[in-house]
């Protein structure tokens, strides 16, 4: 008698979305499977890996994660190229330099910087504001306008400022990062509200990615449930790809800052865990992990 492998299949899929345009175009999502269950269905696009950089001279980064970039941290355009050379599928630029409590770079400065970076690399961009709700609206709107049509993934859009950011994203043909503080009900609420302004293929969910030992299990379970609700239960307000912006969280820990090997391991284990939980975009700082996680994704290990 033939043995038939019991498979669970689903009729629902994660939205396929397109990041970047032209030769930069990159698709994510589109799968009708739970994370990495390739044997159960169809996943046209695999998870992708971004390397993180900033406009803030890598201020506050542990020395071992600055090492691969130390000759370029003062020049974001060169830094972005380095990320690509080191194998990143995308470049994730955190505009920490716009923080009013720090360098307080202007929206204009940020806008022209992103425009330069955008034309300097042939990969899609992810741009995070500094996290100041008001300043982010100003900065991200400017970035959206300067780079009109480039389909940059912009955020974070949060409960307090999503309307203005969604407007800039819709008017200038970009995508949005919907960020909520580790709460699946708030996550859905923000998605429902964003869906009134944007089509679902312009939204990526950021449930916040905590580091190993600092609440990673919360991020894990929320990503896992987001996927189950989307794929198993067909909740259309939850069928967006997920971004795990974990680099900064990992490298902030005492463990990662204590020594190089441990730091790299700390980021790596967090990344693998959140990949298993369902992340479609993994944002990392260390290039060794970029290489390694891509191998994990390709199932070469």
């Amino acid at each position: 008698m033939d043995y038939k492998v019991p498979l669970e299949t689903y009729n629902n899929r994660v939205r396929e979305i397109v990041l970047g345009k032209g030769n930069r175009e990159l698709k994510i999502g589109g799968q009708n499977i739970l994370p990495l269950h390739y044997f159960e269905g169809h996943a046209p696009n695999k998870p992708v890996v971004a390397l993180q950089m900033d406009d803030n001279h890598a201020n506050g980064w542990a020395e071992w994660v600055v090492e691969p970039y130390k000759d370029v941290v003062a020049d974001p355009v060169k830094w972005a190229r380095r990320c690509v050379d080191l194998g990143a599928d995308l470049v994730c630029l955190h505009l920490d330099g716009t923080d009013p409590k720090g360098l307080n770079r202007s929206a204009e400065e940020a806008g022209s910087l992103i425009k330069q970076v955008c034309s300097a690399v042939d990969r899609p961009l992810i741009v995070y504001g500094c996290g100041d709700e008001k300043k982010d609206v100003e900065v991200l709107t400017r970035v959206a306008e300067e780079c009109r049509g480039e389909r940059i993934l912009l955020g974070p859009a949060v409960k307090e400022n999503y309307e203005a950011i969604a407007r800039a994203v819709a008017e200038n043909d970009h995508l949005i990062i919907a960020q909520t503080p580790l709460d699946i009900n708030l996550e859905k609420e923000l998605n429902v509200k964003l869906l009134k302004q944007l089509s679902p293929d312009r939204i990526v969910i950021d449930p916040l990615s905590s580091a190993l030992g600092y609440g990673m299990e919360y991020s894990f379970t929320i990503m896992e449930r987001t996927r189950q609700v989307a794929i198993v239960y067909g909740d259309t307000a939850m069928q967006m790809p997920i971004i795990a912006d974990l680099g900064a969280e990992c490298w902030k820990t005492n463990q990662a800052r204590a020594n190089k090997t441990q730091g790299i391991m700390w980021e790596c284990i967090t990344a693998i865990s959140l990949l298993l939980a369902g992340a479609d975009i993994i944002v990392l700082r260390h290039p060794d992990n970029c290489t390694f996680i891509k191998e994990v994704i390709e199932r070469k290990l």
Binding site: I184, N185, L186, E187, K188, V192, K193, L195, D235, A237
Partner: protein
């Protein structure tokens, strides 16, 4: 369903101030409003009543009994306040509440015997709130056996499964429905009661009513006997007295898993359909559940 008016509650700032100042006017106004709205019992919730427990509870019971003659559900964690209040009740009161906690068994349950009251017993134990139907059953069987042992008959026991907010733990909402459904087989003769508004705790205030009302109808289908509820919600009272049968019928269909024809439904009817689906766990809850 028997409705116990929840509105005289220490968490309300106006109530808390009126009690502190021993100002009968506001309390009596509320009591009369609840009675007029059709409450079957009035819940008087004093919380922990740390300061002058006996005096404060006596004052509150007398103040309310001066203007209405409804039976009282006396709600405090403080046994001294409880005893002082029960002693004064003109009609047979409801002791709200006892539980499987050791402290409650020792200090609260004997008062029900001593003053011949009915008693609400919840599924709580020293370990907290049981997480699923099976553990709720286990806990309540133990606690009721204990209550029977000290002389409280099943007929005087109202079981409370403890309702958790849908915004905090959506799965528990359905677990409690299931518990109410199987309760008569487990403990013949007991009644059931829930703190209805708990289901909408944490939800924005303007959206709480429809969660409460929908859950009341769902609980009613599963045989719930009584609810501590916002009796000043006119639509809730209308539903409880058989009004809006179309909405009741749709909610029952959703619970049975029957297909509901959504064509031509009014916005209000759609809101009830969406709410029932969220409470049944078919859709993930968010504060924007009516908007999608």
């Amino acid at each position: 369903m028997i409705l116990i008016g929840e509105n005289i509650h220490i968490i309300s700032r106006a109530v808390s101030e009126a009690i502190k100042e021993r100002n009968p006017e506001y309390i009596q106004k509320l009591a009369l409003a609840e009675a007029r709205a059709g409450a079957d019992y009035l819940d008087l919730n004093l919380g922990p009543a740390r300061k002058d427990p006996e005096e404060v509870c006596s004052w509150l019971v007398n103040t309310v009994q001066d203007v209405v003659d409804l039976p009282i559900s006396l709600d405090t964690m403080n046994p001294l306040a409880m005893e002082a209040g029960l002693r004064l009740c003109k009609r047979r009161p409801l002791l709200n509440s006892a539980s499987g906690k050791t402290e409650s068994k020792q200090n609260m349950m004997p008062l029900a015997v001593k003053y011949n009251t009915e008693i609400i017993i919840s599924v709580l134990t020293d370990q907290g709130c049981p997480p699923d139907v099976d553990s709720r059953v286990e806990s309540i069987m133990d606690t009721v056996a204990y209550a029977n042992g000290i002389g409280i008959a099943n007929e005087d026991i109202w079981i409370d499964p403890i309702i958790l907010p849908v915004s905090a733990d959506q799965k528990q909402v359905k677990e409690a429905l299931e518990f109410i459904k199987i309760l008569p087989d487990l403990l013949p003769g007991v009644k059931s009661v829930i703190g209805l508004s708990n289901v909408s705790n944490g939800t924005p205030a303007n959206l709480r009513g429809i969660l409460n009302r929908t859950y009341m109808l769902m609980m009613e289908k599963n045989g719930l006997y009584a609810a501590i509820a916002d009796v000043l919600d006119a639509e809730l009272m209308e539903l409880n007295s058989g009004g809006m049968p179309g909405i009741r019928e749709m909610i029952y269909m959703i619970m049975d898993g029957s297909p509901v024809d959504l064509t031509g439904l009014s916005e209000k009817e759609m809101d009830y359909v969406k709410t029932a689906r969220v409470l049944m766990g078919e859709m993930l809850y968010s504060h924007a559940w009516l908007e999608s």
